[in-house]
Structure formats: C-alpha cells, structure tokens
C-alpha cells in the first residue's frame, strides 16, 4: 500500500530546504514566529529579508501601531517595542536593522527577544552576548567586567558602555530600553525627561507637575523639553545617585547629595547655580530655557553685600523658607518660587507669599534684627469719618500691605514694592526707584525745593499721583503731594510761607519765608504706627537727634480719632508739638482745615 503521508512529508521537506537548510533546527528556531509569518514557503524570495528597509517593514507589519504583535496574542503577551526608527545614529556607517539584533539564531537560543548568543558586530567581530534579564546581571549592560551585554558588544564609539570597558558605565544594570527605546532610534534622550519624571522615580519625587504651579521655571508644563531640563541638570551620571546641576557660566558641576529644600548644607551649594542664569547675560548670553524668557537679573555684587546674604540662618537663595527663600527650582505654589514650594498661600489674604513670608524672619523671634511683624500685628486704625475739606475715609495708620487693610481701602502695596530682598542692607534698605515709570529717580534732585532730602523724593516718587506697576492706589484718590510741594509751596511742605511759630530749640525755624522744608519722615512712619496717617510716635528735632516733647503732656498725642474734641487723640496735640502759637484751642481737629496742599 502506498503511503501518501510520506510523499507529503517529502514535499514539505523539499520546499523548506532551500530556505532553512536544516529542518532539524527549524523546530527549535521558531518558538514564537512561524516560518510563514515572514516567508512565503512556496515561492517567496528570501532575499527580501536581506534588504534592511524591507526587513524592517516586514517586522513592523506586525510590530507597529495597529499591528497584531502590539497586543497580547494567543495568550502570549508580546511586549516588543513598537518602533518606527532604526538603529542608525551618527556613529553608524550603515543602518542597523531589526534583523541584525533579532534573528533566527536568537530565537533558538536562551537570550531574550531573539537576541543571538553570538552577534556579528560591525567592528569587533563575533561577540558573545548573554541577555537573560532586562535588568541586573546579564542584562543590557550590567556593568561587570565581562562586556557581553547586548548594548555593549557593538559599541566602540559611545560615551558609555563600550565593549572594552573604556567608557563610562552609566546606569549599569538598569533597563537601557527605558531611555534608549526603539522608537527613538535608540537615541540617548531616553524619550522626554517628562515621560519618566511625571511620576515618582525611586526616591525622586514626581516633578513634572511642579512646572504648572503658580510660579515656575519654563513657560508651561507642556513645553518642558529635554533641553530645558538639561539646562540645569547634568545628565552624565543620570540615575547614579546624585542630582548634578550645571553652572551655565562654565563652572563646575554642582553635585547634590541631599535635599536642598530640607538641608541647609545642600542649599548652600545652589547660590552660584541660581546666579549663573540670574545675571546680566542669562545662560551665557542666551535665555536658559526654550520659552525664551530672560531671567530676572540679580546683581551678584549687590546680593553679596545684602543683609540677606550671610545673615543669620540664611545660606543662600534656596531653602525651606527660613534658611533660604526659594524652592523648588521647578515651581512653587507661591509667587516667585517662594518656599516651601508645595504649600499654597491661604486665600484671600495670601499672606504666606506676601508680607507673611517676610515676617517669617522679621518677627519678634528673628532671626532678622528688625521686627516688622509686631508693628503690623496691631489693630488697624481707620479715620473715624471724612472730616473737613478733604473727604477721604479710607485713610489709616499704615501702608496697606495686609489684606485686612487692602480689602477696605482697595490699595495694594507689598514689602517688595519698597524693599528688594536681594539688595537691601542696613545702609540701603529701599529699592532705588520705587516708580520707574515716572521718569524721576529719588536722589537725582527732582524735588526742586530748598531742603528737599533724599527720603522725601523717595516718598514722593509714588505720592505723585502715579504708581509703580505693582501698586494699586486706594479707591479714593490720594493727594498728589509732589504737586503741592512743587506747585503750591505755600500750602505744601516745602519752603513754608505761613509764618508759623515753632517750638524753639529743636532746629525747626520759625518765621515767614524761612524756606524750611519739612521732610516726610519728620511726621510719618513709613511702615505703621498707632497713629492715623502713620504719624510718627515721637516728633524729633530737625537733625533727628532729640525728641520733641509732645504737646499736651502728661497726655501726649495718640491719634486714633480724627473727629472728636479730645486733643490727645484727634491730632491736635500732634500738630502743636511743634506749632506753639498758630493753633488755637477748641478745634475738633486740625485736619478738618489743614492738610497737604490746603491752608497749610
């Protein structure tokens, strides 16, 4: 009897022989890929697989998006990366195709993912490959002294993991494909930084979302590009335990070994790093980030001379809000990258990012030597009523830096409108020009009256009817005191022409046309006082050396009500501390008739 099955077997063997040569090895070579996945067994052309372009199309006809090898198939979860880019970097003389690394021999061996145990390398001959794990020993590049990782065996011109161990070994034992993916042509970008750092990575916190906080570096979270990250972060030892930061001005890499948000030692390393960009030339002449934004220029010389630099407890720019003001370098829930970065200020006062932030140090227990918080932590004294000719019931005893004051007056002014924390020191507490929009700079003599001092010019830079961009005037317009000083001298504070009789012995000159100019600070406290109009607690002599006894002693003035008959609290005693004869008695208060610009 004839055996038809023998004939069939012979035909199959005959058909397969030209292609595979050894049917015995055929079974072992195809645990995942059947022959006819790739070969037309009856008439197909094997040469097609030798054309790299076609070979890749062949692989990608299953392993690309939409191909069936991109989802679990037949219970076998195929996790082959879905790539559309070949291994063809600048160091390659010819493209490396799928088949160079994944082939029949690889499928027959014990290596993962069809990687052959003996690989024909481009410039180093045949090389043994052991690739039985995606990380750790015998993985892509495990860092040991035997260079048999699939990522090592070919490499002779790379910066890392060459096949003779002569280059670096970054991220040894890690899963190389996490950063060097098929779909990027294995380029070292590892994909975008954001693709990994949008979530916790080992001990590293997720940082991507920090770029969408209230204040942040780089314009917008979707625009955080690899180049942006690499402006600050040195990647030469990525994943090797330390955050390494670039000095964009060419200095040494700054290596952090701890968290600068909690360690003042680590934070102290960062001032140079911050100022490298926050200087006159940005990142060596360019904007540091792809958003093109020019960083704020922090004058390093002024900073080094400032009270904050080197002040007790402050180590530099970065910190927790106590030993440094700013964190993180990515973004903060507060303005201006203020620390601590993750805590948003409390609405509506937002004090944690405004005066409250300064009060962290400038309070009763320091470490700053000036306790400003205690001054402001007093009940706000508002005028009792708009009295007399000047109808303004939104005046009080302070500059309105607090929300409680701002909510009533409509005015908004903050500490930094007068003080620059990067430059302020004991001899230069104030910013140079509080209102740069008006063309006048304090100290340049714009107050063309005799005796006009620097501080008077400084105050009048804003009390001139115009304000700096960051300042909101109160709802009821303040007087333009600059105009009264210049244009209406008789009723201004300059070159007094009223013939006032002043208390003698304190340097204030009596008599008509004596050209005595009264500086602002002679009568007003710049922060806050217990008196309306932030009138000084004590009037001083002209040279500031001697206190002038308050009129009304033993009931000295305390201006808390501008609309009653009590001389001590309505301002009468305050005025008469200097004015000895011009003021009569029995006036409800002086301000009903006398104020800046009117009947002065």
């Amino acid at each position: 009897m004839r055996r038809p099955e023998l004939l069939v077997a012979a035909l199959v063997l005959f058909a397969g022989w030209p292609i595979f040569g050894d049917v015995g090895s055929l079974r072992a070579q195809t645990p995942k890929h059947n022959c006819d996945f790739c070969h037309n067994l009856h008439g197909g052309d094997y040469n097609e697989l030798q054309d790299y372009a076609v070979a890749e199309d062949l692989c990608l006809s299953c392993h690309s998006d939409g191909g069936p090898a991109t989802w679990p198939r037949d219970g076998d979860d195929v996790v082959i990366p879905k790539g559309v880019a070949i291994h063809d970097g600048s160091k390659h003389t010819a493209p490396t195709t799928c088949w160079d690394c994944h082939n029949h021999e690889g499928e027959a061996g014990s290596n993962l993912w069809m990687i052959p145990e003996l690989l024909a390398t481009p410039s180093s001959g045949d090389w043994t490959v052991i690739f039985t794990a995606s990380s750790g020993a015998n993985s892509y590049a495990d860092g040991d002294g035997t260079y048999d990782g699939v990522c090592e065996v070919c490499h002779t011109g790379t910066d890392q993991h060459q096949n003779d161990g002569s280059a670096g070994k970054h991220n040894a034992g890690n899963d190389c494909s996490g950063c060097h993916g098929h779909d990027g042509g294995f380029a070292g970008s590892g994909g975008a930084c954001r693709d990994c750092h949008n979530q916790t990575q080992g001990g590293r916190r997720a940082v991507l979302a920090e770029f969408s906080r209230a204040s942040h570096h780089v314009a917008w979270v979707d625009s955080v590009k690899v180049a942006d990250c690499e402006t600050c972060h040195d990647q030469s030892q990525h994943q090797q335990g330390s955050v390494r930061l670039n000095d964009v001005d060419g200095g040494s890499v700054i290596v952090l070994t701890g968290d600068p948000a909690t360690s003042s030692t680590e934070a102290a390393k960062l001032t140079t790093f911050c100022l490298a960009c926050h200087d006159a030339d940005g990142a060596s002449g360019s904007p540091p980030f792809t958003d093109g934004v020019t960083p704020t220029n922090i004058d390093a010389t002024a900073w080094n001379a400032s009270s904050h630099e080197g002040a007790a407890g402050i180590v530099g720019c970065y910190g927790d809000g106590a030993f440094g003001c700013h964190a993180s370098g990515h973004g903060s829930e507060k303005k201006r990258l203020l620390a601590p970065s993750g805590a948003a200020p409390t609405a509506p006062a937002l004090t944690e990012e405004e005066e409250g932030f300064c009060f962290n140090c400038h309070d009763s227990d320091g470490p700053a030597g000036t306790d400003i918080e205690s001054l402001f932590n007093t009940t706000i004294q508002w005028v009792t009523a708009p009295v007399g000719d000047y109808d303004n019931d939104l005046l009080n005893d302070r500059h309105d830096v607090q929300y409680a004051a701002q909510a009533t007056s409509g005015a908004v002014i903050e500490c930094t409108d007068c003080h620059d924390p990067h430059t302020a020191n004991s001899s230069l507490k104030l910013i140079a020009d509080p209102d740069p929009t008006d063309g006048r700079t304090p100290g340049d003599g714009f107050l063309t009256v005799t005796g006009g001092d620097y501080m008077t010019e400084w105050c009048l830079d804003c009390h001139d009817g115009s304000y700096a961009a960051g300042i909101t005037p109160p709802d009821t317009t303040l007087q333009d005191i600059y105009a009264t000083m210049i244009g209406n001298k008789a009723d201004g504070m300059a070159e007094g022409g009223g013939g006032a009789t002043l208390r003698s012995g304190y340097g204030w000159t009596s008599g008509r046309n004596n050209n005595m100019t009264v500086p602002c600070l002679s009568c007003h406290n710049p922060h806050v006082s217990g008196n309306l109009f932030h009138a000084v607690e004590t009037v001083m002599s002209f040279d500031g050396s001697t206190a002038v006894p308050s009129d009304g002693d033993p009931n000295p003035y305390s201006i808390t009500n501008n609309n009653n008959q009590d001389f001590a609290i309505n301002g009468y005693n305050w005025c008469n501390t200097c004015h000895t004869s011009s003021m009569g008695s029995g006036k409800s208060n002086c301000f009903s008739c006398h104020f800046h610009g009117t009947r002065w």
């Binding site: 037309n40 008439g43 199309d57 990608l60 006809s61 690309s64 998006d65 939409g66 559309v84």
Partner: protein, 322 residues
Amino acid sequence: MRRIIPSHILLVGLCLGLLFAYGCWGDQRAPAEGDLAAEAFEPQFAALTADSMASPVRLATTPRGRLLVSDARRGMILSVDPVTLRADQGFQVEGRPLAIGLIGKRVFVGNVSKRTIEVYDAHGGSLQRSFGPGAVEHPTDLAVDDVLGLIFVLDGGTKQVKVFDTRGVSRGTISGPGTGAEWLQVPTAIAVDRVAREVLISDYGTPGDQAAVKIFDYDGNYLTEISGAGDCGMMGCTGGFSRPQGLEVDGQGRVYLVDALLAQVLVFDRGTLELVNTLGGRSGSPGLRVPLDVTIGIDGDLFVTSNRTRTVEVFYGGANPR
C-alpha cells in the same frame, strides 16, 4: 346606543399597544442622541502649530472630505486637509488612540490604553464620555453605520467584533476566536458596507489559515472571504496578501484593502472576490511604507495612512465614490 368598554379591557389594550410599539422599535435603529445620523456636521478642532504625524494609523472621512487620523504616538486625533495632507487641526487623547469613526457630532475613538471607546465632541474635541473601562480589550479598528447608528468595534484582544449603539449599549457580537473560515485568527481592521449590510474584517490568519478578508452580514452570519492566498499554480503563488490591514468599500461594491507588507492598496470585486487592481507600493508614487488604513474621499480619491513615512498619501481618483 352607547356602548361602555370596561376599564380593565382598556388597560389590557393599552398594554398590548405598548408592547407592540416596543417590538417595532426594537428592530429599528437605536435612538441616538439628537438624531446623530441625520446631521451632516463638519468637525472642527483646535488649530495645530505642529502639523507632523508620528504614527498615523486609522482613518475616517468627514462630510466635507477632511480626514480624521488617529496618531497613536502623538496621542491625538488629527484632522487632515485633503489637499495639503497636513494635519492642521486636532485634539488630544489620553492614551493611545487607534480606532476612529464619526457619526454626526460625535467622534468615536478606540483607546487601547484605556481599553474602551471614547466619545469626543466633533466640535472642539472635548471628551464627553466613554463606553466604560474594559468595554473592549484592544480596539484596533472600528467602522460605523451612521444610518443605523451602529458602531462595529474590532476587538483584537477577544478577536470579536463588538457592536454598540451610539450610547455604548451592546448590540451583539460577530464571530470570535477559533480556526476555520468563519472565525477570527489575527483580526486587524474592519469596514462595513452599509448598503449590503455586510461587515468585512481583515485577518492576518495563522499557519494553516491563510490571511483573508472575512465577510459577515450584520447579524453575524459568515458569508464568504477574500483569500490572501492569491493565484497559486505549479510554480507557486502570485498576488495575494499576508498583512491585510485597513479596508474600505465603495458604492459599487469594490473592496479596497491595504497590505502592510506589500505596501499596496489591493482592489477586489466584492461579487467575484477577484483582485481587479493594485495601487502604490514601496517605490510607487506615492510610495507607501507599512500602510495601515484606507478611506475614500468625497471625490473618489483614495487616502492611505503610510505609517513608516508618517504621512497620509492620496491616490487621486483611485476609487469609486462611496
């Protein structure tokens, strides 16, 4: 003489009437939101500054002939100008979008990352809802019958066609995993012939089960297949296909099929199941590399996603209008 009908008889009559009405409606198209099929709404999305594609996969055509393209790597649905072939509009999808279809004011997207069908507003592209997590395992492609308001989702994970109405309510399944002509081996793409009410499914096949386009009726009955075996003789086979991907049916019953490896559009006659034309190729004009889907424009132009070249290519006049 006046005749009084007892109230209980009226009640029974009312119930019977309701049941009759329900039975009639049950056979009709699913009541969709706002009569989606009746509207010829032209989608409009945000303008894009970056018009490049990263991995164009599936295609759909808008009423005015623009092309909606799923880009699995950009994670976007792109709207492509049919003249410039530039993606100048689009919207973001969280995850990897593959399948795509349009009915009225709704864009239906198969999100393989979330294993569901998501519904986006065709005006602006905001996500409105989804069919629920796990509604499908791997929605590699979908086809819509906008007249009946049905969505045929090819689930590569379960190797089934899952039929939904526009609200996401299941209307049944077609075929399933198994060997034999009427079962699905490695299904990749789907199209429907609304006139013939047929469902066409590309299937890579497995050894012993040749790649094919398998054809079912809307009720899931297997009808026939277009075999990928080609024309085989003593010296082997010519023609045929092995990597059938996206497909489309025109108004004259011709089936347009892209093969990812041949890099061609194969045109078959639905009646004879014979190959009647081929278009493209790797070195053709336009050249295709791993094409994944095909659709017919309103003027009979044939548009193809060429995945490796990251482009949408056009064969002018390459098809009969739908």
